[in-house]
């Protein structure tokens, strides 16, 4: 593995921007000690190089991954980029370096430290995305359905397809409060992402009554003689509860 170079990259935080960092690192034959966001406080003694996002460079790296490695490797890289793992950029860069060396089998080397790190992050992303499909709750606000989620990883792009397929005629908004991103779907099939803060209105009487019905169903369906808190918590970690209708006052 390459020695660390005495340099830190700074980029705009986008996936394309990250791919340009990868491009730069190969072009300049250097292995940045860290890759940080443009608005991140610089706490390093190393010189910082700002990497411009460039479509052509990003495109070249993007195309090279399935070509030199595999489609699976590209999926893994994309998912790892959504993770909340610390220093994910340098870790993914290390994975790509290994991938360019060994080719398609990079995804199979699950016992290699570099791959193991990425696998763990990707697994966390996948699990959290799945749990979000389960525990996300919409409320009806007259014109549209709205849901608020608070995931650790940036899983919103992974769950939108499911809801668009499921509710093709609905207007709905899914808002990731932690990452301040909202996804908007309209009944005519158009979609868009919005960045920033979103506040939902207060529920109306009808919405309140369905919430009460659901809460009551939830409480009634449990068999008291089989109460098992640990089992419930294993399947449904407590950190999801605050966004779930059945646990709201």
């Amino acid at each position: 593995m390459l020695e660390w170079s005495n340099i830190v990259y700074q980029y705009d935080g986008s996936y394309d921007g990250f791919l340009c960092c990868v491009f730069e690192s190969f072009l300049a034959k250097e292995n940045p000690a860290d890759i940080i966001l443009h608005d991140e406080q610089q706490e390093t003694l190393f010189p910082v190089k700002y990497i411009e996002t460039d479509d052509v460079r990003a495109g070249r790296v993007k195309r090279s991954i399935p070509l030199k490695m595999s489609q699976e490797a590209e999926d893994i890289v994309k998912r790892a980029f959504l993770s909340c793992m610390e220093h994910k950029e340098t870790k993914i860069l290390a994975f790509l370096r290994l991938g360019y060396q060994v080719g398609a089998k990079v995804t199979k080397l699950s016992t290699h430290d570099v791959v193991h790190t990425i696998d763990k992050a990707v697994k966390f992303v996948g699990n959290e995305a799945h749990l979000s499909l389960e525990f996300l709750r919409f409320s009806e606000f007259g014109e549209f359905l709205g849901a608020e989620i608070t995931p650790k990883n940036n899983i919103l792009p992974l769950i939108t397809y499911h809801f668009c397929d499921r509710f093709p005629d609905e207007n709905f908004v899914i808002y990731d409060k932690n990452h301040q991103i909202a996804f908007l779907h309209k009944g005519d099939g158009t979609t868009e992402y919005l960045y920033g803060n979103v506040t939902f209105p207060d529920p109306d009487e009808e919405e309140e009554s369905y919430r009460r019905l659901w809460k009551h169903f939830y409480e009634t369906i449990a068999i008291e003689g089989r109460r098992n808190e640990r089992c419930r918590m294993n399947h449904m970690p407590k950190r999801y509860w605050p966004n779930m209708t059945e646990f709201k006052a």
Partner: protein, 432 residues
């Protein structure tokens, strides 16, 4: 009666039904309809008892003419009787579904007037949900044993999964506790659904647009602990059901005493949760681990070991087949190692093509060594911390937590499924 009360009564009456899975069929969404289905199924919540909530599980009606002694809805039991109108239930399903509370509807019913009439009510409701409310999500319908073939066939065209409750593990128990139901009727309905599925699959080959009949297959459930069958009898029965009727799942339900009846366990009998848990573990061994029922339990050991799960129990009695070398053992043998499941075995098989596996590598693959370590070698080296020549020592090391040594020594604790034992080992099954 308002909706709130109705929902309470008809949920309360349906909650002892176990199956709540939404799995078995992948169906994409469609413009103009609401919903899709996902083959793996999606749980949307977990109740305080740890069981998954995937479907809106309710009875259409609890106004039953039958008088099965183990059932809360039995005719001679006091209590309020009510029935959903088709529109009430359709509206509720759609509104819950839109809010992502549920994957769909699980519709069962008490026998109103007679089986045919009940089945017609169910068809009316589900048909409305599909055609008028344009619902494209998951529907699990309970087939009513004894209903006309034509009605069951029609119900199957709107449902994704159907189930017929086998209720009790033997005909004798059925006669004693559910005199109006019979084995012949129950198995007859099962056979009917099976042949419907088979016939439909040949039609689908000929005509792509033929309507699908129960695309997610059928399942069944039985009550455990209300009658005196042995675990071996129950397991053999489920094996037979998987083979003969090609069921997707057999569910077990620990009997909760809710009724005082001289034919039934006393009201203060705790539900046999551990026994139910062991049955599910054995069920998994049948379906995913290529075990036969006869390997798990035999005439000398007709009941499960309360201290060891069935796989550990098998391994302890077959120490001559261990240890297995993780770098070379065939996949089927890896599956038989306690602590190594389907996912772990697949990961091992894949990873060992590229590298030699030692304990360190196994940990990176996420293999849990707590039990497995006594049954494997890594590259010739034993991973065990103990000598492996005495099965009793290994059994002691891998038996389940919750039993202290003192309790193990007490003879009454060793009796199978003594109620005190069950309180110690908490039931783990939830996501079934």
């Amino acid at each position: 009666m308002d909706m709130f009360q109705k929902l309470e009564i008809l949920t309360d009456a349906a909650k002892y039904d176990v199956a709540c899975t939404s799995s078995g069929v992948d169906r994409g969404g469609e413009k103009g309809k609401i919903g899709n289905t996902v083959a793996a199924g999606i749980c949307h919540s977990f109740a305080a008892d740890g069981r998954c909530i995937s479907l809106l599980k309710v009875l259409l009606s609890n106004d039953c003419v039958y008088d099965c002694s183990y059932c809360v809805n039995r005719h001679s039991n006091d209590g309020q009787r009510t029935t959903f109108t088709p529109d009430e239930l359709c509206e509720l399903t759609i509104q819950f579904y839109r809010r992502n509370y549920i994957e769909g509807l699980f519709l069962s019913s008490a026998i109103v007037r007679n089986p045919d009439y009940t089945c017609e009510l169910m068809i009316q409701t589900i048909k409305k949900l599909r055609n008028e409310y344009r619902f494209n999500g998951y529907i699990h319908a309970k087939a009513i044993p004894g209903a006309d073939q034509r009605l069951i066939d029609e119900l199957g065209l709107y449902a994704d999964r159907m189930s017929v409750n086998i209720e009790l593990p033997s005909n004798d128990s059925l006669k004693k506790l559910a005199p109006q139901k019979s084995k012949e009727r129950i198995l007859g309905s099962m056979k009917q659904i099976k042949s419907g599925i088979q016939q439909n699959s040949t039609e689908l080959v000929k005509y792509k647009s033929a309507p699908k009949f129960v695309p997610a297959g059928q399942s069944t459930q039985m009550i455990i602990g209300a009658s005196d069958e042995s675990d071996r009898q129950i397991l053999k029965l489920s094996e037979g059901l998987y083979q003969k009727f090609e069921l997707k799942r057999v569910f077990f339900s620990a009997y909760m005493p809710i009724i005082n009846d001289r034919n039934l366990p006393a009201l203060d009998t705790p539900p046999p949760l551990l026994r139910e848990h062991r049955l599910y573990q054995a069920d998994w061994l049948l379906r995913f681990y290529k075990f036969k029922a006869d390997e798990i339990l035999d005439d000398n050991n007709p009941n499960f070991n309360p201290l060891l799960d069935p796989k550990c129990n098998w391994a302890i009695h077959h120490m001559e087949q261990f240890p297995v070398e993780v770098n070379r053992a065939p996949y089927e043998m890896l599956l038989r190692v306690p602590g190594i499941g389907v996912k772990s075995a697949l990961r091992i098989v894949q990873a060992r093509r590229y590298t030699i596996l030692n304990v360190e590598e196994l940990k990176k693959l996420g293999i849990v060594l707590k039990r497995a370590r006594f049954f494997i070698t890594c590259n010739g080296k034993s991973a065990s911390l103990l000598r492996t020549d005495n099965p009793a020592v290994i059994a002691g090391a891998i038996c389940e937590r919750g039993f202290s040594e003192r309790e193990l020594a007490a003879p009454e604790q060793m009796s199978l499924f003594a109620p005190t034992g069950e309180d110690k080992v908490k039931c783990l099954s939830g996501q079934i």
